[in-house]
């Protein structure tokens, strides 16, 4: 059965740090900048943003998705899945198939190929593949200057779409490449020259050779060659090794200098960029690499009648904000007061959060069938507060609205951003939401301003990451 990409979405955090800024402390700049997660962002929140964009690009609702395949090497958990949370936020049915892939920045490609097989085999009709990463790098390490952050999601489905998934091959040999033990804070690297030569270049070259053999198509006959890479040098050397001309690398070579190494999102971001510029009938080759495994796969571009996803990479890049190395250290909690974050009223693994899943992750309210009032939070409102009615039905609130009123707090305990806006929103769907602001400067807040609700990490306690909606201006 034909398997196609039906839509895609990209998310890159708003914050950037120039590698020169890092080099001003540690030396050794190579130019460019990298994307940095804000204090309330992580691999999960970025995955949500990318997935929502991809679903909207494919014009699908969450409940139409049969499976979610997630690939990341920076899940907040060593044990505990995060696809269950994604499923709640995206509103899939409880019967959705969930798969979490991990282990290296190639995890997302393992997820992509497994998902494509699931569709090809007829098990799923529409499925979501997400690659997301926010890998931790030690201060002063080369990886600190290269590890970016971002997420890409693709909707795969049977039938015609933006591009078909064609052939795929893999090549693997066991050796220790970059690694992070379960109790390590940062990714480690033994000898970059050894891993580049023996690992990256050799594995990718073998995979490319195998793909050309399988498809009977030589590298130069592909219109777009998208290569996963840890740095521009790796890209340059691999392109030379497989004899891929520079003009075919256009889609992927601009990503690293702008965002850094996006890890599990990197190759998918390259494919997404290629699709954005590709013409009907063009062939695309993509090559992954991570920890001793390389996959190469081919795609063929379908009818060119789709718009760019929202937000586009151009828009994400336009809204960027550069930060200093000190701010970077504070966001990464390397620079810290040592105080634990202000605790939640109840511990995050408690049943309160299970009962609150509807309001916290799906943004549900209880609509009164009598007077229409939207009672929120529904886990705490079983009688309509306006009319006393007891016939209530769950409904989903809109994630957009206008500011009704707000304040900005300048004194907060550890674990909060300062200044911190508290914003009351009149939602487009009716109903109100009160939440903390994110990525907002106090001076720009106005009554009546257009805002959206975005899922962010509220806090982390007992190792549990707690997520909920914050309020962000629409720019």
């Amino acid at each position: 059965m034909q398997t196609s990409v039906m839509g895609y979405g990209i998310y890159v955090p708003r914050l950037r740090i120039k590698t020169d800024e890092i080099a001003s402390v540690w030396g050794g700049s190579k130019g460019g900048e990298k994307a940095v997660t804000n204090m309330d962002e992580d691999a999960v929140t970025m995955a949500v943003e990318a997935a929502q964009s991809a679903l909207s690009h494919a014009q699908l609702a969450g409940r139409e998705i049969d499976a979610i395949y997630l690939g990341t090497s920076s899940s907040p958990y060593a044990e505990q899945t995060v696809t269950t949370l994604l499923a709640e936020v995206l509103g899939t049915s409880p019967g959705v198939f969930l798969a979490d892939f991990a282990g290296s920045p190639r995890a997302s490609i393992a997820a992509l190929l497994a998902c494509a097989d699931g569709i090809r085999g007829g098990r799923f009709d529409r499925a979501l593949v997400i690659g997301t990463d926010d890998r931790p790098a030690a201060p002063g390490s080369a990886m600190e200057a290269s590890f970016g952050a971002g997420a890409v999601a693709m909707v795969l489905g049977s039938g015609e779409g933006l591009a078909t998934m064609d052939e795929a091959v893999s090549f693997s040999r066991h050796f220790v490449d970059r690694w992070r033990a379960a109790d390590d804070d940062y990714v480690r690297d033994f000898d970059p020259r050894f891993t580049r030569q023996y690992g990256y270049l050799a594995h990718c070259s073998e995979a490319v050779r195998a793909l050309c053999e399988r498809t009977g198509i030589a590298v130069e006959r592909f219109d777009h060659v998208v290569l996963q890479h840890q740095d521009p040098r790796g890209l340059r050397e691999l392109a030379a090794a497989i004899r891929a001309p520079k003009e075919k690398l256009a889609a992927c070579e601009g990503l690293f200098p702008a965002f850094g190494d996006l890890g599990s999102a990197a190759l998918l971001a390259g494919v997404a960029s290629a699709l954005t510029t590709a013409r009907e009938g063009q062939r695309l080759m993509a090559v992954s690499y991570g920890a001793g495994v390389s996959d190469a796969f081919s795609m063929t571009v379908g009818k060119r009648n789709w718009p760019e996803p929202i937000p586009s990479l151009t828009k994400l890049q336009r809204e960027k904000r550069n930060i200093s190395y000190l701010e970077y250290l504070r966001l990464k909690k390397i620079l810290s007061t040592g105080e634990p974050p202000f605790p939640m009223a109840v511990p995050p693994p408690s049943p309160t959060f299970m009962r609150g899943t509807g309001e916290l992750l799906r943004l549900e309210a209880a609509r009164c069938k009598g007077c229409g009032f939207l009672n929120y939070p529904p886990s705490m409102r079983t009688i309509c507060v306006r009319c006393g009615g007891t016939a209530l039905e769950r409904t989903t609130l809109s994630r957009r609205g206008k500011i009704h009123t707000f304040c900005v707090n300048y004194y907060m305990p550890p674990g909060f951003e300062i200044p911190l806006a508290n914003i009351l929103v009149d939602l487009d769907s009716g109903g109100r939401y009160m939440g903390m602001g994110t990525e907002v400067s106090p001076d720009e807040l106005r009554v009546g301003m257009d805002v959206e609700l975005v899922l962010r990490r509220i806090t982390k306690e007992r190792g549990v990451s707690v997520y909920g909606y914050k309020v962000k201006p629409i720019r």
Binding site: T405, C407, N409, P413, L420, L424, R432, Y433, G468
Partner: protein
């Protein structure tokens, strides 16, 4: 009405402030003794038949023993029942209200209401932020005390054109009054410019728009009105009281430009006393933040909704000596006198008791008495969903 009239025959409070050297129990005992000693014709504590102890942070901070026995045991009244009251910022006035109910019901002839709060034995952050851990774990997160009032200020500014200068005038007035009140935490004059240039706390509120954190205690002795002459020739009578509630979250409230609990409490109190806002000669109202006092003018019916900013600007709430037609917070209010939560309401009762008796201790700020009615008000608690209003009078009938 089917209730016995209630009189106040003695009040006492301690100098409010950062009382690092005094324990919670010492605060309580000092206010208790001050109330006992204030009774004109002398008073035997053995006549007290029941007590109500207001203390708010006891449960939140774990420092004090918050049960009613804290009062009974520390002043030697172990024979009597003591109920502990905790109801947010109106705890003091709700303590007084419950003591009133005890006497009005006919079960007790003489009762004591006492409110005590130790705010400063914990760092500012911990006591201020204990509220941030209440309510819904996420929807309430990121809230601090000022952020329960600042959004109303923002919206009031948007809808009615209220200005930060008008809010600052409330702080200037109350700090001036505080200079005349020896019990006040602060005794310093301030200017509008100082308020506006003080550090931001929660936009649009600056530091001097906010009340301080204060230790304090205050008490009142109540009895059946027909027994009051045993204790004093100038009793003050409880004309009426009311208590209103509201929705807990701003997402549920009908308007962000009012505290509806205040409106509801006031409506009950005016009806019970058979008076209207025009009959009030002097008021002690909840000015935890400057915007709160402006909303109170409106919600208590001193002026129309939206007119609160003009009410302060036109000087109507200044002391009688300065030409105010309805002096508000002659004691300095929460802004200057301080806000030891459970002591606040009872300290307001004490101030009004002195004004209605035209005592020499308040001659420097004495309200001009026309009708002989005084109004006490608190609003607060989680979501600012609770308010108590008490109306006192010097009329015997």
């Amino acid at each position: 009405m089917g209730w016995n009239r209630v009189a106040v025959v003695g009040v006492g409070m301690i100098k409010f402030g950062e009382l690092f050297e005094k324990s919670y129990e010492a605060l309580l005992q000092e206010a208790y003794l001050a109330a006992i000693r204030s009774v004109d014709k002398g008073f035997d504590p053995g006549e007290i038949q029941a007590g109500w102890l207001g203390t708010c942070l006891g449960s939140a901070m774990g420092l004090e023993i918050p049960g009613g026995a804290s009062l009974a045991a520390t002043v030697g009244l172990v024979e009597i029942p003591v109920t502990r009251v905790e109801n947010g910022c109106p705890t003091g006035s709700d303590t007084f209200r419950n003591a009133c109910l005890g006497v009005a019901s006919g079960v007790y002839d003489v009762a004591i209401a006492i409110g005590v709060e130790k705010m400063r034995d914990k760092p500012t952050e911990e006591s201020l932020l204990s509220i941030a851990a209440q309510g819904h774990p996420i929807l309430s997160r990121g809230g601090i005390a000022p952020s329960l009032f600042a959004p109303q200020a923002t919206r009031h500014m948007h809808e009615f054109g209220t200005t930060k200068e008008q809010m600052a005038l409330v702080a200037v007035k109350n700090h001036h009054n505080g200079c005349l009140d020896p019990y006040a935490h602060f005794q310093t004059e301030i200017t509008v410019e100082q308020v506006l240039s003080s550090p931001p706390v929660s936009y649009p509120l600056q530091l001097l728009d906010c009340c301080p954190q204060t230790d304090g205690a205050a008490a009142a002795i109540l009895c059946r009105a027909d027994l009051a002459r045993r204790y004093t020739d100038r009793p003050v009578y409880v004309a009426g009281f009311g208590m209103g509630s509201d929705y807990l979250y701003l997402t549920e409230k009908e308007r962000a430009t009012e505290f509806a609990a205040t409106r509801r409490a006031a409506k009950q109190a005016y009806a019970m006393a058979g008076v209207s806002p025009r009959d009030i000669d002097v008021a002690e109202v909840h000015d935890c933040f400057t915007i709160t006092e402006i909303l109170n003018y409106e919600d208590l019916g001193f002026c129309e909704k939206g007119e609160g900013g003009r009410f302060i600007q036109e000087g109507k709430s200044q002391l009688s000596q300065l030409g105010g037609s309805l002096p508000v917070n002659p004691s300095g209010g929460l802004l200057a006198k301080g806000h030891p939560l459970a002591a606040t309401g009872l300290a307001q009762i004490a101030e009004l008791y002195w004004h209605l008796r035209e005592e020499s201790s308040v001659s420097n700020r004495q309200a001009h008495l026309r009708r002989g009615y005084a109004l006490q008000h608190n609003v607060g608690g989680f979501g600012i969903a609770t308010s108590v209003v008490t109306i006192l009078t010097n009329h015997a009938d």
